[in-house]
């Protein structure tokens, strides 16, 4: 909790775009690389029925999962990077891809600046993913930090 508050502080607790830490406690944070997959059980449920298990939402951001929905890097109240961690890490390694685009779009990066965003992420692969047990929370923090220290992209996180 303390850490998340600190992140929120880092991101500028203000009326600015990232007034709150993306997500919140108990919000799918702490997803490590490779742990982002739902288990086999959930998969069997989904594939047998085409359905959903448990709190079937209707795309509402409010409600059941105890997440703050105000951060940019959230989706349906969950951490976006936590939700697409595997895909995002691959795309950063390659320097392109739909998950990387999705994070740029969610951060509000204009189309004209997306190439720069992708290049920045790719060039800093080792910063974003220093080890196998990096968490989605840490990755999200570093995405913001990298953007902040980049002349072209800082305006999206100020």
């Amino acid at each position: 909790m303390k850490r998340i508050l600190m992140v929120a502080a880092l991101m500028g607790v203000s009326a600015g775009a990232l007034a709150e830490a993306p997500g919140g406690p108990n919000c799918g944070w702490g997803n490590m690389l490779m742990n982002g997959q739902s288990g086999l059980g959930a998969h069997v449920v989904a594939s047998l029925t085409n359905g959903t298990s448990g709190n079937a939402t209707f795309g509402m951001t409010t409600g059941t999962n105890g997440c703050s929905a105000n951060g940019k890097l959230t989706y349906g109240g969950k951490s976006l990077i936590g939700a697409v961690m595997d895909e995002f890490s691959e795309d950063v390694a390659r320097g392109d891809g739909e998950a990387l685009t999705a994070v740029a779009v969610a951060m509000g990066v204009d189309e004209a600046d997306r190439t720069a965003f992708k290049q920045l992420m790719h060039d800093n692969f080792a910063t974003l993913f220093p080890s196998a047990d990096v968490t989605a929370e840490q990755v999200s923090e570093r995405v913001v930090e990298l953007m902040r220290s980049n002349d072209q992209l800082a305006r999206y996180v100020s």
Partner: protein, 625 residues
């Protein structure tokens, strides 16, 4: 749900403003409680009202039944069968309670448009929850998504469809951040596994609409189930999307009847599209069953699709990339997947573009294997090491995207009728075959998953020389899944079949009831050639056997060859019944496609047991309709 006491309805300001402006207080709507009022009766009979309420003609003439299995959807106790009572109750509730306007925005919209003056009699409603939902979705476009056939799950064998809503919001304007609206069973959390499996297979869970992020659907279909997705962009305009979403909102948490074997997720979507764009009556085209790809065709035929995009499953891309590697590179990629530090000299000796392709294959292959593995520290380390390898090779040219296969809607149609002429034991016969669905190993393969056969309700009637007409076979179900094994994929092949068929036993041609299944492997020494071998088992009810209900273990082997001359399937089957009888069958079948929906099939078959040796040859003209 919050209701603002003195606010004007702000649901759809533009549209409502227009409606309110045209409403005339001098012309009030018919009394709401009067079911016999001509206005109410006439409106309640309109197709659009029936579609909004999900009525469908019942077996009894003049009667209606309803797909909705939920009292919360109806405002009148007679609602499930009586559209006029429901309409009267809706008018009454709209006037009485502002919450009804928020709960049923599509009904409200439709009635307000048809009853001049109604809007003026409605209380002010502030639909905060609904408006927030619409604001979050900010729908710009809708896409119909078809997930290709998945034989390992009964509810997905014929494929699956759902809707994707692309957002107009700048921070959501990319496919991954779109919302998917899916109709499927809703399983309670913490459901017991056995109960789950039973009800999952045989029904028992209610069906509901649920919305969720598209990236979760991609993970489910593209990564976990290796199913290609086909995205059909719809040309719904703003008013049509508005109606669709207003109605989808009415269906939130509403239970429908849901049966797995007559897959009806696709039918539910057609009903939504019928509400969005009245006049095509898409759902009515499928009174008995709705095969997902047929519903996609209906939507295309109605002129609602502007373009089609293909999104290969992760494994489809991986398989294609593996096929681009030479034998040495393949070996290397396979070793790297186990150990990212394996053979650095061999890796360094490759051209940069080949290094990248090898790294891609090694990484994706590890990911593919990890999908069903319990994540552990060693796997995470290896995953990370390959990710680093991928990053180091990323400066080289990216591997080209796999070529797009034939779109599923361009494949042969799903029904089949065939006429055959042949001889059995030197006596002529004619066969009439009819199959409700879907595809076998010899049918034209374009648009269908390779190596897969899925057939339900297949019947063959035989007219024999001398005038005897007999039921030759009736297959309730036949599924075959042949997936080639190689150094990367340890896939299993299997088949099941149950129904009635003719078996020569003790010199008689006997109609037996049987079920059989097999499990084994397939190998593809050439891309066009598949060899398979299965251990099999068979249960047969046949009074001419020593045991009238007998079990036979067996073996089956064969090959399937695709060539410019058509598709050839050769097979050998052996069974040994516990009562002592042995049975062997050799078959050679060949189909020459004469068009997308027409084929000529030659079949040669020899069946041998202790008393009988029966040779059969036939030539069939097969038409898919």
């Amino acid at each position: 749900m919050r209701i603002g006491p003195a606010r004007t309805a702000g649901l759809l300001p533009g549209l409502l403003g227009l409606l309110l402006a045209t409403a005339s207080p001098a012309n009030p709507a018919a009394p709401a409680t009067d079911t016999d009022s001509p206005t109410v009766a006439a409106l309640a009979g309109q197709r659009e009202w029936l579609q909004l309420l999900h009525y469908t003609p019942s077996w009894l003439p003049g009667r209606l039944r309803n797909f909705v299995d939920d009292p919360d959807f109806f405002l009148s106790p007679r609602g499930p069968h009586d559209p006029a009572a429901e309409l009267a109750a809706t008018l009454d509730a709209l006037r009485r309670d502002p919450a009804t306007q928020c709960r049923f925005p599509a009904r409200r919209q439709w009635l307000v448009a048809r009853l001049p003056g109604l809007a003026a009699t409605l209380p002010a409603a502030h639909c905060a929850e609904y408006e927030e939902w619409r604001r979050v979705l900010a729908v710009r476009e809708a896409v119909l998504v078809f997930a290709s056939s998945y034989l390992n799950s009964p509810s997905s064998m014929y494929g699956h469809t759902f809707l994707r809503f692309d957002s107009a919001a700048p921070e959501r304007r990319t496919p991954l951040l779109a919302w998917a609206l899916n109709f499927g069973a809703t399983v309670p959390p913490d459901e017991n596994g056995f109960v789950y499996a039973w009800r999952g297979l045989f029904g028992g869970y209610p069906g509901q609409f649920a919305a969720g992020p598209y990236f979760e659907k991609l993970r489910e279909y593209s990564r976990l189930e290796s199913r290609d997705l086909w995205e059909y962009r719809l040309n719904l305009d703003a008013a049509e999307l508005d109606r669709l979403l207003a109605h989808a909102w009415e269906l939130r948490a509403i239970n429908f009847d849901y049966y797995f074997f007559d897959e009806n997720c696709s039918l539910r979507l057609l009903e939504l599209l019928d509400v969005a764009r009245p006049g095509h009556d898409l759902a009515d085209q499928f009174p008995n069953y709705a095969i997902p790809i047929d519903t996609v065709r209906a939507v295309i035929d109605a002129g609602m699709v502007t373009d089609v995009a293909w999104r290969p499953a992760t494994r489809s891309t991986l398989r294609w990339q593996i096929a681009q590697l030479d034998a040495g590179e393949r070996q290397l990629a396979r070793r790297l997947a186990d150990d990212a530090g394996a053979d650095p000299q061999a890796f360094a000796a490759l051209e940069p573009a080949r290094q990248r392709l090898v790294a891609e294959v090694a990484y994706q292959y590890l990911r593919d294997r990890a999908v069903h593995a319990v994540p552990d520290a060693a796997l995470a380390r290896q995953n990370f090491a390959l990710l680093q390898l991928l990053e180091r090779t990323a400066a080289a040219t990216a591997p080209p995207a796999p070529p797009r296969p034939a779109a599923p809607e361009t494949g042969h149609r799903t029904g089949l009728a065939a006429l055959a002429a042949g001889t059995e034991e030197s006596r002529a016969f004619g066969d009439l075959e009819w199959r409700i669905s879907y595809h076998d190993l010899l049918d034209p393969p374009a648009g269908y998953p390779a190596g897969a056969s899925l057939n339900m309700a297949r019947m063959v009637l035989r007219l024999k020389e001398g005038g005897t007409l007999q039921l030759q076979r009736l297959d309730a179900l036949e599924i075959t899944s042949l997936a080639a094994r190689d150094q990367f994929f340890r896939s299993w092949s299997w088949r099941v079949n149950a129904g009635l068929e003719r078996q020569w036993t003790d010199g008689d041609d006997i109609l037996v009831t049987q079920a059989n299944g097999g499990f084994g492997g397939s190998w593809a020494p050439l891309p066009s050639l598949l060899l398979f071998a299965l251990g099999t088992g068979r249960l047969e009810v046949n009074h001419a056997l020593d045991r009238s209900l007998d079990l036979a273990p067996g073996l089956a082997a064969g090959l399937r060859l695709e060539s410019p001359a058509g598709i050839t399937l050769a097979s050998a089957d052996f069974y040994h019944f516990t009562g002592g009888e042995d049975r062997r069958a050799l078959a050679l079948r060949h189909e020459l496609a004469l068009g997308a929906n027409l084929g000529l099939r030659l079949q040669l078959e020899r069946r041998v047991n202790e008393h009988d040796r029966v040779d059969e040859a036939s030539l069939a003209l097969r038409y898919h309709f």
